[in-house]
């Protein structure tokens, strides 16, 4: 009914409670969330707040780690991993990178980093989705989530002096064997899942699913496991509640963050921190742009010339030519559309609908099945993607071969001594 209605008086007691409640909600919905008191101390840059916040950021930035796994990383390793991850995502404040690696300082900077992450995207929702309790046998259809996250810190290997190439070959071979072993394990897992699904046919109360998953089977066999599952579901519920509360009270938190930012000492001319992209250098990029533009110009000229020649050639023809011409145009249009579809499929565009994990449900052959993806379609999409990647691999291998030949200074030819492998 107008402005006056909106300007209600806020009860000062409510206002005082709102901030701690907001922070409590925030802390409860995040994994490894520290107490609101820690947040308060961090605003004043108290050193005791720093380790908890480093650990929080580590959990937030490496969501694929299981609950207990982060304990196996030392604080220093976690600090380095957080710095790397933030830098890769383009975090602009330099002061964080300059904090000591032992994790003893920097509560305020860490708060700012957390706020930055929260502001960038739906962080709580993303974390909750990734960590949710799964009752079915889930299979990821695409790997983009796994590829996007930086992963836990790898042990740093010092390469002192020259490296024996035999050692490199050894490592390559080991990596290949591990891939094969991984595939064999996955096949075994699939075979066993298939067995469980077919043995428990008809057991599920939900008719559209029809059979039990591994988790559900374990539930039936082991009541203790059932209780643990219940507890996990309750915890997840609590987190979801906290997330809802957070969304209501967010504004209070952001106002408070303004004061945190204000409390920071002013930083001397802040050079923007670009995310680390492994490009050869800006100069090459410009050359590439120029080359592409030149190529585009050349193509345009060639097309114009061709078109002019053709027009000149058909000008003399009669009216029946115009019909033929329209038919030709349509045919070309169809070819182009097909080509575009092939390119898109090769680029994996049609897999866009296949993001994230899906529950495996086994149905009888010919049965209609429920909503969701069908295995043959997914297999088809993955196969075409595989074919596209094979083509790219051949191209890259060819380029590598030529590059090596250039370095050796000899024409490409069989110089290799190794017995020909795969």
């Amino acid at each position: 009914m107008g402005r006056r209605r909106r300007r209600r008086r806020v009860d000062p007691a409510d206002a005082a409670r709102a901030l701690p409640e907001a922070i409590a909600a925030l802390s409860q919905m995040l994994p490894a969330g520290p107490s609101p008191e820690t947040f308060r101390r961090a605003k004043f840059d108290r050193p005791e707040a720093a380790p908890a916040l480093w650990r929080l950021l580590f959990r937030v930035l490496s969501p694929q780690l299981a609950d207990g796994a982060s304990a196996s990383f030392s604080l220093e390793a976690q600090v380095r991993s957080v710095k790397l991850a933030l830098r890769t995502q383009g975090y602009p404040r330099r002061a964080l990178a300059q904090l000591p690696d032992d994790g003893s300082q920097g509560g305020r900077e860490l708060l700012l980093a957390l706020a930055w992450l929260l502001a960038r995207g739906p962080l709580p929702e993303r974390l909750l989705t990734q960590n949710r309790v799964q009752l079915g046998d889930e299979m990821p259809v695409c790997e983009c989530e796994a590829l996007a996250s930086p992963g836990p810190p790898a042990p740093s290997v010092e390469a002192d002096g020259c490296v024996d190439i035999r050692h490199l070959q050894w490592l390559m071979g080991k990596l290949r064997f591990r891939w094969r072993n991984l595939m064999a394990s996955q096949q075994e897992q699939c075979a066993l899942l298939g067995k469980i699904h077919s043995y428990t046919r008809g057991c599920h109360s939900d008719r559209s699913l029809g059979h039990l998953s591994v988790t559900e089977t374990e539930l039936l066999r082991d009541p203790e496991g059932g209780r643990q599952l219940l507890r996990r579901l309750e915890r997840e519920n609590a987190r979801l509640q906290a997330a809802l509360q957070w969304r209501c009270r967010e504004l209070v938190f952001w106002r408070w963050m303004d004061t945190v930012l204000g409390a920071c000492p002013p930083e001397a001319s802040q050079p923007t921190f670009l995310p680390r992209i492994p490009t050869p250098g800006a100069g090459e990029l410009e050359t590439l742009v120029r080359e592409l533009q030149a190529l585009q110009g050349e193509l345009r000229e060639a097309v114009e010339a061709r078109r002019a020649a053709w027009e000149a050639g058909v000008r003399g023809r009669g009216p029946e030519w115009s019909a033929a011409r329209t038919a030709l145009r349509e045919a070309v249009g169809r070819d182009l559309a097909a080509l575009r579809r092939v390119c898109e499929r090769g680029g994996g565009r049609s897999l866009a609908q296949l993001h994230g994990p899906h529950r495996l449900v086994r149905t009888e052959a010919g049965a209609p099945g429920g909503p969701g993806l069908r295995a043959p379609e997914v297999i088809e999409a993955l196969r075409s993607r595989e074919a596209h990647l094979e083509v790219v691999l051949r191209q890259l291998q060819g380029q590598c071969g030529q590059e090596l030949a250039r370095l050796v200074g000899a024409p490409p030819g069989p110089v290799w001594i190794l017995p020909p492998g795969r």
């Binding site: 024996d164 050692h167 490592l171 080991k174 064997f177 072993n181 064999a184 075994e188 067995k195 017995p419």
Partner: protein
């Protein structure tokens, strides 16, 4: 995960039978020296790996038997069926009526392609019976005629059809003083072909096993059966179940993969030798006790001095002192003194296995310079005793074990080739001189690579 075995030729089939028999006997042995539950887990793991189940409960070996004549296969099938404890599948064998002239080129170029489809179908059926396939064993002799040629073809075929599965060839290295004139030609052709299509070549030397029978088992009249049984014992001590990791009590699911990842990732170094200790006749077994310290000390010296068994070890051989160069330049004309390893796998079975001290195997002096002991040495354990031995240890080694025998064979083959002796037997069936030259080149490269390990 299951292993499918392809038994090729007379050699492969006879040995294959002994292998399955040894595996079965051990898994049902009552003197496992462990709890009932542990024993059952061990049995179940062995069963899943090597046998499949049938309705009436008699386990069926996961094997395909191939030979060009029916005699040996029939003997093998009936021996297995007679025992009543396990058997081969009724339709798991392929044989022809006529013999084949004992010709490598004929086996590779004629028999192979002609019977490719039938053999592939048999293998496919066996693979389908597995819940999950760990890989293939291919048991064959190296210097035989048809069996070896066919074996080389079959391995190549497996490489094409099952490129993601692991393949290990169990190769029987012939006696130095063999009877077949062209055995050296056969050997180099077999080895070079297998090197290209197999992942690992586990070599069993007839001479070595013969000596074990004579000296350690005290057998007077050594038959092929005795030799095959010792061989089967060695294989069993490597591939029976072991724990999946330090401190774990679950059995390893992927022995082939773990072994290969640790021992043969480099494409030039695929030759593996196996030693085990102790080895004795069953009568003596009851009167002997061992300590892990003693067993491992002997095993280590067997590795260093390239001894084939625990008797007659040369204790003078020592690893080179760190920092100093190895004993002179490695030339094949001099006696090898010290056996440099690339990678080793030690498998321990029996009582108090967790107390065994393995530090001596992690000495960097044992290994080549470009691989550190932490990456080069691995150990598998189980406290379940193997085949009534209270304690036993096996060693699978990727080292210079086979350089000298290989060099001898290549030398002899080359001498014959230089005068083109008997080549027509091969060119008649499509193995040209270029194929021989390719084989020589490949094997010379392998020998050179292994010799250079000392640097």
């Amino acid at each position: 995960m299951s292993i499918v075995t392809v038994q090729l030729g007379q050699c492969g089939n006879q040995i294959g039978f002994e292998v399955f028999d040894a595996l079965f006997s051990d898994s049902h042995c009552s003197q496992g020296l462990c709890s009932k539950r542990e024993n059952e887990a061990y049995q179940a793991s062995c069963k899943e790996r090597f046998f499949s189940e049938e309705e009436n409960g008699v386990p069926i070996a996961r094997a395909v038997l191939v030979d060009m004549e029916p005699k040996v296969i029939n003997q093998t099938l009936s021996k297995a069926a007679h025992s009543g404890r396990w058997k081969y599948g009724q339709h798991s064998c392929f044989c022809q009526k006529q013999g084949s002239g004992n010709n490598w080129a004929y086996g590779y170029s004629v028999h192979g392609p002609r019977h490719e489809e039938s053999i592939t179908n048999l293998i496919q059926k066996e693979v389908e019976k597995c819940d999950s396939l760990n890989g293939f064993f291919i048991i064959m002799s190296m210097a035989g005629g048809t069996g070896s040629g066919l074996g080389a073809f079959v391995t190549q075929n497996l490489q094409d059809q099952y490129s993601n599965s692991l393949k290990m060839n169990q190769i029987i290295w012939p006696y130095g003083t063999g009877e077949v004139i062209v055995q050296n030609y056969n050997s180099i052709l077999t080895l070079s072909h297998l090197y290209r299509s197999s992942d690992a070549l586990l070599v069993h030397e007839n001479d070595a096993v013969h000596k074990i029978c004579a000296k350690l088992m005290n057998i007077k009249q050594i038959s092929f059966r005795d030799i095959n049984q010792v061989l089967a014992h060695q294989l069993g001590s490597v591939f029976q179940p072991t724990y999946s990791g330090e401190g774990s009590f679950h059995y390893r699911r992927n022995p082939l993969g773990d072994l290969m990842e640790n021992l043969v990732p480099h494409p030039e170094f695929k030759m593996l030798g196996v030693r085990n200790i102790p080895q004795m006749s069953e009568n003596s077994l009851a009167y002997s006790t061992f300590t892990w310290a003693g067993l491992l000390k002997h095993l280590r010296q067997m590795l260093i001095s390239n001894a084939k068994m625990e008797e007659g070890i040369d204790w003078q051989v020592r690893p080179p002192l760190s920092g100093l160069p190895t004993l002179g330049k490695m030339s094949l004309n001099k006696e090898f003194h010290f056996n440099t390893s690339i990678a080793n796998l030690v498998i321990l079975r029996g009582k108090e296995v967790h107390s065994a001290e393995l530090g001596a195997f992690k000495d960097p002096a044992l290994y080549t310079s470009w691989l550190e002991p932490v990456h080069a040495f691995s150990v598998w354990k189980t406290q379940r005793a193997f085949s009534k031995y209270e304690k036993s240890a096996a060693l699978v080694s990727n080292s210079q074990f086979l350089v000298k025998p290989l060099d001898m064979i290549v030398g002899k083959a080359w001498n014959m080739f230089a005068s083109k002796a008997y080549i027509h037997q091969y060119t008649k069936f499509g193995i040209e001189e270029e194929d021989f030259l390719d084989s020589f080149t490949l094997l010379e490269q392998v020998i050179a690579s292994y010799c250079n390990l000392g640097f």
